[in-house]
C-alpha cells in the first residue's frame, strides 16, 4: 500500500458523497468517499490524514501528458524497475516520498521506462482511501 501524509484542505459533500482534497507538502490530492463530515468524524478541514492507495491503482504517464480526467498527478523519478513476465514493479520517488506502481511489463516496455526517467504517477480519485492514524 502506498502512503502519503497530508492535511484535509477542502470537503465538498452532496447526498452522502464527498470529494475531499488533501494537501501534502508538495501536491494536492483528491479522493471521493461515500461519507460526509456528518457520518465520519475525521472529515474536518485541517485534520492530519494518511492518504493510501494500492500499487496496482497507480498508472504511469510520460511527461507532457495530454488532457486526462485523472486529477491526481504526481511528478516522480523512477528509482528502480523490476520487470516480471506479466507484471512490472516500478519504484518511484516524488518530493513527498516513495510510491510503487504495478503495471504490465508490456506497458513498461511500451513506454520504454528506465531508471532515473521522469514520469507522472496518476491515481483515480475513487482509488484513494483515507486513514486516520491519530485514532
Amino acid at each position: 500500500m502506498n502512503k502519503l501524509y497530508g492535511k484535509i484542505s477542502k470537503i465538498t459533500s452532496h447526498e452522502g458523497i464527498s470529494l475531499v482534497n488533501i494537501k501534502t507538502e508538495y501536491v494536492t490530492l483528491g479522493t471521493v468517499l461515500i461519507d460526509t463530515p456528518q457520518s465520519c468524524s475525521y472529515l474536518k478541514i485541517g485534520k492530519k490524514i494518511t492518504v493510501a492507495f494500492k500499487e496496482t491503482e497507480v498508472a504511469i504517464a510520460l511527461p507532457n501528458l495530454g488532457t486526462i480526467s485523472m486529477a491526481n498527478q504526481i511528478n516522480c523519478k523512477i528509482s528502480k524497475i523490476e520487470n516480471g513476465k506479466v507484471l512490472a514493479k516500478i519504484s518511484l520517488t516524488c518530493k513527498d516520498g516513495n510510491i510503487t506502481s504495478i503495471i504490465t511489463t508490456n506497458s513498461s516496455q511500451r513506454l520504454q521506462l528506465k531508471e532515473r526517467l521522469e514520469v507522472i504517477a496518476l491515481i483515480k480519485a475513487n482509488e484513494i482511501s483515507l486513514i486516520d492514524e491519530e485514532n
Partner: protein
Amino acid sequence: MISIDIKKSFKNANFHFKTQIQDNSLNAVFGKSGSGKTTLLRLLSGLETPNEGIIKVDDKTWFDSKNKINLPPQKRDIGFVFQDYALFPNMSVIENLRFAQPSKDENFLAELLDIIELTNSQNKYPELLSGGQKQRVALARAVAKKPKLLLLDEALSALDSVMRVQLQDDIENIHKRLNLTTLMISHDIAEVYKLASNVLIVEDGKIKKSGNPDILFENSQLSGKFKFSAKIMKIEQADTIFIVTLLIQNNLTKVVATQEEVRTMNIGDDVLVASKAFNPIIIT
C-alpha cells in the same frame, strides 16, 4: 405513539430510557450485551417496574410513578417472544394459540396458522416440531390476541440461517397484517436492515441515538467502506507480486500484495481487508 421516560436502578446499573415510538413502526433495539436492551423490553412489558417515570401508549397510561399507575403485564396489550419458545408441551399447536386468546377468533387463528405454514400441523404437540416451527408458533401465540405492541427479545438468535430468514419474513408479514408496533432486539445487522424502519441504539443504559438504519454506519466499528475481518491462510509469490489467500467468514479470497507488505504478514494473522466502496462489482 408510545412515549417512554423511565428510570430504573439495580445494584450495579442505572437505566434511563427516554424515547417516542411511532405507531406501526418496526424498531430494532441494537447495542452491546449488558447495555440494557432486555431491561428496556422488560420495563415496557411490566415484567420489571421502573423506579420512576411514565409509559404512555396513545392516551392510555401504562405506568406513571407520580399517579401510582402500574398496569400488570397481562393488561398492557403486548405480545412477547423470547429466544426460548416456552410453548406449553401438553397442548397442541392450535391449543397453544387458543390459550393466548382471551376472546375466541378461530378465523384469525386459521390465518395465523397459514402465515406460519403450520395449518397441517396444528394438532401436533411441540415436541414433534423443529426449533424453527416452535419459534413460529411462539410468534403466532404472541400475536394471537392482536396486541398493540410486539416485543421480540433475540427471538431468532437460536435459529439456523435458513429458518431465521423464514422467521424474519413471518415477523414482517405479521407486523404489517396486524398494524403492530414492534420492538426487536437483534445483533444481526442484515436483519436490522431488512426489517427495521427505525433503530434504537442502546448504550450504557440509555437510548443514545435513534433513526433510520443508516445510523448504524455512524458506529465506529462500521463504516461505509467495503471492510471485513480476515485470517491469512497462505502467502505466495507470483511474478513480481505476492498473492495472499484470506479467509473471510467461510469464504476463501485472494488479494494482491507487494513484497514490502507481505514482510509484515504471517500465516494465521487476523487482519482487516478493505477496499473503496467504488471497486466491488455486484453480480446478481
